[in-house]
């Protein structure tokens, strides 16, 4: 078993105003339920907008706290799911479904374990 991060990348500013998020959230919850039933679900949640992020970093002896996000860009991590799956193909199967439901690009990465 390997633990995988399934990360969703979201354009800044949230979903388009005409997009109905309710069915998307419902389907995501259904996928989460299936992951739980398969004994593979570890964690899943969506993040608030990247403008709510705070960055902490070390400069010499000082620890600086600044307004985030850390990486400049038009897209940011929008949320993630953590699964424990027997192999990459199984994790990719979940990722594919999440990508389809959210229409967002999704990145799958293994943890060290």
């Amino acid at each position: 078993m390997t633990t995988y991060l399934i990360a969703m990348y979201q354009p800044d500013g949230g979903p388009p105003p005409d997009m109905d998020m309710e069915p998307v959230m419902r389907e995501l919850e259904a996928i989460n339920d299936e992951m739980r039933a398969a004994g593979q679900w570890v964690f899943a949640n969506g993040l608030r907008d990247s403008t709510t992020a705070t960055v902490v970093r070390v400069r010499g002896d000082e620890v600086l706290t600044t307004d985030g996000p850390y990486l400049e860009g038009k897209e940011h991590l929008g949320g993630f799911t953590i699964v424990r799956a027997p192999d990459l193909d199984v994790a990719l199967g979940w990722a594919r479904r999440i990508a389809k439901v959210t229409t967002l690009p999704v990145e799958v990465r293994p943890f060290h374990d």
Partner: protein, 406 residues
């Protein structure tokens, strides 16, 4: 008694089978590869003295497996993992499945699908396939792809690391995923073939080895998946293309167009084999892009070329792959059936400004329409963009001819 070169050849031929079986046993590519290396060292010592074993494949697998078990047992004992060491001891003994073709066949299929997993970069897929299934050394692969050996070694290490850490499985894909995954495997083999066939740079002989290797992989796929028509289509396409290799360039290395080729230089056996496969595909009636391209090549292998049939095949191919490049090739057939003016209308609609063949085809059509100044300009555009010397020289001759008539 076999010499080192014989032993190397045997190991190269059996590499894919041995690594595939050992990956099933040990679940790790590096362990499998090292074990085969160890077996090679034993063979170099014993075969010249005792003669080759009756079944070299079985010998390699058994020897490699025992060496790997020894190695893992020693490592486990050193690390104080006694229980594990004892378990490896129990695993020792005659290999159970090496004479049994069924599981071995599946082992190799699994390994192919792992090497060509879409989560690996295409360059990594190609390198892994050549290394693990083709049995080529890292140095040979590096030379073939004109990259430093260290670069290729790093590429292989990184790819194997990803297989291990990301958990890319050794498994034949589920039916639902199989068509897409098989397309990826065929794309890797065809890329290897084209790298050897179309490139004009580097050591020519080394590059031609890539064609031979791609055909060997194609034959392996055909053996492993005889019921997949596109697998057979790709094999036929490569055989029919490779059959013309000697006629494709002059002794001086100049490119010769298909229509101008000396057909006595074609490899008749390869043509016959390719055409037979194409006929078998046609009988099945499940066409796909590789089968259609093979069929086009099969028609070209008969004299004179039946251009109406070629055009009908391109119509079919365009339905599968509606790309500008396929449309360009189809236009060449249109020129033969309906004349250059009709073809030029089609070509001028394509957005392929950056592709030298687009300009070369336009130049040829313009020349046939008597528009020599336009043709010369198009040839110049093609020469500007052509990637290899043989093609550039061919185009320069065509340009010179065009201007001569003028």
């Amino acid at each position: 008694m076999p010499g080192r070169a014989d032993i190397e050849r045997t190991f190269r031929e059996e590499h894919g089978r041995a690594v595939a079986v050992l990956v099933r046993t040990f679940g790790d590519i590096d362990v499998a590869e090292e074990a085969v290396q160890d077996a090679f060292a034993v063979a170099i010592e014993r075969w010249p003295r005792d003669g080759p074993p009756p079944s070299p494949a079985g010998w390699i697998i058994t020897t490699a497996r025992n060496r790997a078990i020894d190695r893992l047992r020693r490592e486990a004992a050193r690390a104080g993992r006694q229980a594990e060491a004892v378990r490896y001891q129990a695993d020792r003994g005659p290999a159970e499945a090496e004479e049994d073709e069924g599981p071995v066949r599946d082992d190799r299929l699994r390994l192919i699908f792992t090497c060509c997993h879409p989560s690996l970069a295409m360059t990594a897929q190609v390198a892994l396939t050549l290394r693990l299934l083709g049995g080529l050394t890292t140095a040979e692969i590096a030379r073939s792809f004109l990259v430093p050996e260290a670069t290729m070694a790093q590429r292989l290490v990184r790819a194997k690391g990803k297989i291990r850490h990301a958990g890319i499985p050794f498994r034949i894909p589920r039916d639902a995923d199989l068509p897409a995954r098989l397309r990826a495997v065929l794309a890797v083999v065809y890329l290897i073939f084209n790298e050897g066939y179309a490139a004009g740079s580097g050591e020519r002989l080394v590059r031609e080895d890539l064609c031979a290797e791609a055909i060997r992989l194609g034959r392996l796929l055909a053996e492993l998946m005889p019921d997949e028509p596109e697998v057979m289509g790709l094999l036929a396409l490569m055989l029919l293309t490779d059959a013309r290799r000697d006629a494709r360039t002059t002794a001086a290395g100049e490119l010769v167009r298909l229509a101008d080729q000396d057909r006595t230089l074609w490899d008749r056996e390869l043509v016959a084999e390719g055409q037979a496969i194409v006929r078998a595909c046609l009988r099945r009636g499940e066409p796909g892009p590789y089968q259609i391209q093979a069929a086009i090549n099969a028609v070209h292998s008969d004299e004179p070329t039946d251009w109406r049939q070629v055009l009908a095949l391109y119509d079919q191919l365009l339905a599968f792959e509606p790309t500008p490049v396929v449309a360009l090739n189809r236009a060449v057939a249109v020129a033969e059936v309906d004349g250059p003016a009709a073809a030029l209308d089609l070509v001028d609609d394509l957005e392929l400004e950056g592709y030298h063949v687009f300009h070369a085809v336009r130049a040829n059509l313009l020349r046939r329409l008597g528009r020599r100044a336009d043709a010369a300009a198009a040839y110049r555009a093609a020469i500007e963009l052509a990637g290899n010397a043989a093609e550039r020289e061919f185009l320069e001759r065509a340009l010179a001819d065009t201007q001569l008539v003028e």
